[in-house]
């Protein structure tokens, strides 16, 4: 508790450069989140820590910008008919329990093994989860490309068909995203796992979105939009928990929010211009690059714990900087793919408008 109070009173001084930096990182993070439902936040905690913000304040401030951002993104995509509110709220509530459980695991690890142990746990979780889930999505993307089915609607997996076929009396709920009734006994553990991941690596959506797609059978567009509801529900509770200890630096949170609200609107608009398949492409790309970034940090933490021979300070600095740069690169590549999709879509729509106007003029002139 003393540690918490010390961190809370240690808010950094803000300069114009810092403010602009946070605004821009927020914008790019928001763009990615608006498009794939999550994924922008993982870079914000390290970005704030690189400015000297204490770890817990960075996590708390990140979370406090995430839930209002997710709310705006969810509302925007709801207007496009992409959100299943019921599925989002049910998974969000179980996700909240997952966040609390995940945070308690983190605290125990930190208590037993210190900061290096906690960091190692986070990095290994990143590598394992992103490795497994990212590979599944990449395999799916490659299959669509190979079979030339990237233009088609998402197919329901065999696992999702099985889940939808199970009838457990008293637990069945109809979900619009699935166009089917399924037992909440399936959604609860998925929401819980999303929450644990959110508390561990700050991006629950890396489990939430793929699980809705491959386990429950939701199309990618609806899964990514519904994830925003989950992020909102989990984020409110998580932020309140940190705010109770006075850990939220509201200036940092609102600065990032300032940029991310521009980004999330644009990301949401982008989903209406691209093939649904692109959600998976962006998600797999970011996940696999971030995996590489976090894997670079594993030797640093192993060395700090004395499990391998000690790395020199120069090596530690090189690995830390490279890892952070790769993480930023992952976000930039994701943002580039999204912006390219939006620009291509806008040009195609403009050309179609011109064609329709010419056709209309020809028909009017012929009369």
């Amino acid at each position: 508790m003393h540690d918490l109070a010390a961190q809370a009173s240690n808010f950094i001084d803000l300069t114009t450069t810092t403010a602009v930096y946070l605004f821009i990182v927020g914008f790019i993070g928001g763009l990615v989140s608006g498009f794939i439902g999550s994924g922008g936040a993982f870079v914000l905690t390290p970005a704030m820590m690189s400015l000297g913000v204490p770890g817990l304040v960075a996590v708390a401030s990140n979370m406090c910008h995430k839930f209002p951002k997710a709310l705006i993104g969810a509302l925007k995509r709801y207007r496009y008919g992409q959100v299943d509110v019921k599925l989002g709220v049910i998974m969000g509530i179980s996700g909240e329990a997952g966040v609390l459980y995940g945070a308690s695991i983190q605290e125990k690890i930190k208590h037993s093994f210190g900061d290096a142990g906690s960091n190692l746990y986070v990095s290994v979780a990143f590598v394992l989860v992103l490795g497994v889930v990212g590979s599944i999505i990449l395999k799916d993307v490659m299959k669509s490309l190979k079979n030339h089915t990237s233009d088609e609607e998402d197919k329901v997996t065999a696992l999702a068909r099985w889940v939808q076929s199970i009838h457990i009396p008293g637990t069945m709920v109809y979900f619009k995203a699935l166009n089917a009734r399924i037992s909440v006994l399936f959604t609860i553990p998925l929401g819980f796992a999303t929450g644990i991941l959110a508390a561990t690596i700050a991006v629950g959506g890396f489990v939430g979105v793929p699980s809705m797609m491959y386990v429950l059978g939701a199309p990618g567009l609806m899964a990514s939009a519904t994830e925003l509801v989950i992020a909102f529900v989990m984020g409110v509770g998580g932020s309140l928990k940190y705010a109770l200890h006075g850990l939220v630096d509201i200036r940092l949170a609102m600065l990032i929010l300032g940029g991310s609200l521009f980004g999330i609107q644009l990301g949401a608009i982008g989903t209406t211009y691209v093939k649904p398949f692109m959600i998976k492409v962006v998600m797999a790309t970011i996940m696999l690059i971030v995996l590489f970034s976090r894997a670079l940090m594993v030797p640093v933490y192993l060395s700090q714990l004395g499990l391998i021979s000690r790395l020199s300070d120069a090596w530690v600095n090189v690995l830390k900087s490279t890892s952070f740069a790769i993480m930023i690169l992952a976000l930039l590549i994701g943002a580039f793919i999204i912006l390219k999709g939006i620009i291509k879509g806008l040009i195609a729509e403009h050309q179609l408008n011109v064609k329709l106007a010419v056709k209309h003029q020809t028909v009017s002139g012929g009369r």
Partner: protein
């Protein structure tokens, strides 16, 4: 048709200007009063509701502003055409 477009644009311009000004005022207060705000918000306990309420307020004002902003510069969701 052109009249309808003008009306649509005027509505968005009006909203964006009002929301933009309110958003700017909110951010100005946040930074000019940062010392006081940080002290109060870091107290925890019941004061925990303040950052949550602030986040909701900013998301409502600034979120609506950014939505109108993209509409005005011509970047809006794809319209289905037949």
């Amino acid at each position: 048709m052109a009249g309808q477009i003008d009306k649509f644009k005027k509505k968005h311009y009006g909203k964006a200007i009002v929301l933009g000004i309110v958003s700017l005022v909110l951010y100005t207060i946040l930074f000019t009063e940062q010392k006081v705000l940080n002290e109060v918000f870091a107290k925890g306990g019941y004061f925990a509701l303040l950052p949550i309420a602030t986040a909701f307020l900013f998301s409502f004002v600034h979120g609506n502003f950014t939505g109108n902003f993209w509409d005005i510069i011509g970047i809006s969701a794809k319209k289905e055409k037949r």
